[in-house]
């Protein structure tokens, strides 16, 4: 059986930084029960524990790269262009560090898909800005389809 984890990284109390957890909320009841959904604040050891041993880890996080708000960046683990500088991780060390640490410890999932949503507003407060809300809805559909297909294929 394919072990699949979907991890939403971010803090819902920092508006658009909550894009990851919002995607997880949208995916509930949209995925096969074998697909494990998790929210994470991005602390690297928790991230590593969440994806360790998975065949596929789908990670959703907010990002600030200068692209228009709501832009979705899609990366696989093999894309070295994903760097730490643009991450809007709202905690401790960021996703790039977690990936690098997991690589050093040989604890990466077999495959990782990263979905990074361009944030507009990461100030204190709850609620997503309209462009990010649209991106989150799009990602929920896309990831639900992706993981359902992978979890159920023979």
């Amino acid at each position: 059986m394919t072990r699949i984890r979907v991890i939403g990284v971010g803090n819902p109390y920092r508006r658009d930084d909550g894009a990851g957890p919002a995607v997880i909320a949208g995916l509930r009841h949209r995925c096969p029960p074998t697909v494990k959904l998790a929210e994470c604040d991005g602390e690297p050891t928790r991230l590593i524990d969440l994806w360790d041993g998975a065949d596929l880890a789908v990670v959703v996080d907010a990002v600030r790269s200068g692209a228009p708000p709501g832009t979705i960046h899609r990366r696989s683990l093999r894309h070295p262009s994903f760097g730490r500088a643009g991450c809007a991780a709202s905690h401790a060390v960021d996703l790039g560090d977690a990936v690098a640490l997991a690589a050093a410890l040989d604890r990466l999932p077999t495959r990782m898909l990263l979905y990074l949503v361009e944030a507009d507003n990461t100030s204190t407060g709850v609620g997503l800005t309209p462009a990010v809300e649209v991106a989150v809805a799009e990602l929920v559909d896309e990831i639900a389809e992706e993981v359902t297909w992978r979890a159920t294929r023979r």
């Binding site: 109390y13 604040d41 050891t45 928790r46 524990d49 905690h91 401790a92 060390v93």
Partner: protein
């Protein structure tokens, strides 16, 4: 360039949940004239969020202030609300709270020692490079941290922002099986933590001493975490409810965070160095033995050696968790009733990085009308600036890159939340 007599180091800022930090150091004629650590304290916003909310809500709302020490916020909030309502919680509920708190100390201290602080001493830019060269050591740290997380999950319901804590106790009492499952991993963690003390004690430490007054909760008979009175190493003592009479917060022009000072006395330091100095006699035998084995003196005044003290506290938290797990029996009810009444309540506990104070005012309907949170970060701000001022003065011969790195290390001595931010800070130099 770096040997100029006039220079300014400016470390830029980054937005973070736990705080936004920036460091500015000015040197004129070879003397450090100004050190400003600028931290924005998010709890101020939370104090606003809390007004108008129900008296049972602070444990869940304030847990969101920090992803590393949510239990500290939950516990200080519970104690303060219960104090306002005239309830004191003890017995098995208090023991289970203490076990939960041990989980947070284990997780937070292991994170700080292995992932944030140790790379500084060993010449690595981050834990990633450390892991490439010393994989088994980093794995040991992660294994210890995982045991802390396991406690948080078993007692708190989940590792981040536990959901099982409520005013008066817990929503659900863990089964005996859930708690005894922690025993074997804790025994392994005890061995790993003892080895950690030995490992970090061998690091090279700068010759540096602070002169801060040390402040912590003290509960004679045991290493204070969730109870006790506030004391300093210079003889000041007062109950938690008198915190605001003795601790004054001052507005500093350079920072939106308030600087806390002991009234009529000045800066002070809270956290592991203070706790160890004030509660050291009540360390459990395992922790005492670990401290003695590396020759840790009764009062450690070198902030760089806080990593050793933190490792001793790691042993302490694990040894205490082992005892609490052994003694655990499920109990009922999971929480004692706490009925709202108008009043003011105070609570303080020892968060991994220092004393965390909460005050709530509640009206007759159980609605919060005022809230005050004084986190250890703002209490330590003046002490950290003083460390930096004296530390930089003796190292002006270093180039800006090296000096900035050492300043960041000096900040990391005290506070993992700021440490997180400093990982991202970029240096710019302006010459006057």
């Amino acid at each position: 360039m770096s040997h100029r007599n006039d220079r300014a180091l400016t470390v830029g800022s980054l937005s973070r949940v736990e705080g936004e930090g920036a460091l500015h150091v000015r040197v004129v004629d070879g003397r450090v004239t100004d050190v400003r650590l600028q931290i924005y304290e998010p709890p101020r916003f939370f104090e606003g969020f809390l007004r108008g909310r129900g008296y049972t809500e602070p444990p869940d709302i304030t847990a969101r202030i920090c992803g590393i020490c949510p239990v500290a916020y939950q516990m200080s909030a519970c104690l303060a609300i219960e104090d306002a309502c005239g309830v004191r919680v003890d017995g098995p509920i208090a023991d289970l709270r203490r076990l939960l708190y041990c989980g947070e100390w284990i997780s937070s201290h292991a994170l700080h020692i292995y992932l944030l602080h140790a790379p500084d001493f060993l010449g690595y830019p981050s834990v990633v490079e450390l892991a490439r060269d010393h994989r088994s050591i980093v794995e040991r740290g992660l294994a210890i941290k995982k045991v802390g997380n396991a406690i948080l999950e078993a007692v708190g319901g989940r590792a981040i922002h536990p959901v099982n804590v409520r005013v008066g106790g817990f929503y659900r009492v863990p089964t005996r099986t859930e708690i005894t499952a922690l025993a074997a991993p804790l025994q392994e963690a005890l061995e790993a933590a003892t080895a950690t003390v030995d490992w970090v004690a061998g690091f090279p430490f700068p010759d540096f001493e602070h002169s801060h007054e040390l402040l912590a909760l003290v509960e004679p008979g045991r290493y204070a975490v969730l109870d006790g009175v506030i004391r300093t190493d210079r003889g000041i003592g007062f109950p938690v409810r008198a915190f605001e009479e003795h601790i004054r917060e001052e507005q500093m022009p350079h920072s939106t965070a308030l600087h806390a000072r002991l009234a009529g006395r000045g800066r002070y330091l809270t956290g592991p160095l203070a706790r160890y100095a004030l509660s050291g006699p009540w360390l459990l035998p395992e922790a005492r033995a670990a401290a003695d084995a590396v020759g840790l003196e009764p009062v450690c005044r070198n902030p760089f050696r806080s990593i050793v003290v933190r490792a001793v506290e790691l042993v302490q938290a694990i040894a205490e968790a082992i005892r609490l797990v052994d003694a655990y029996r499920p109990f009922a009810p999971a929480a004692v009733p706490v009925l709202a009444r108008p009043g003011v309540g105070y609570g303080a506990t020892e968060a991994p990085r220092g004393t965390l104070f909460h005050r709530y005012e509640i009206d007759k309907n159980g609605c919060i009308t005022a809230a005050r949170i004084v986190p250890p970060t703002s209490q330590n701000q003046a002490a950290i600036e003083d460390d930096l001022r004296r530390f930089v003065q003796d190292r002006l011969e270093l180039d800006d890159h090296r000096l900035t790195h050492e300043c960041e290390q000096a900040i990391r001595n005290h506070d993992p939340c700021i440490s997180c931010a400093t990982h991202f800070l970029e240096l710019s130099v302006e010459r006057s």
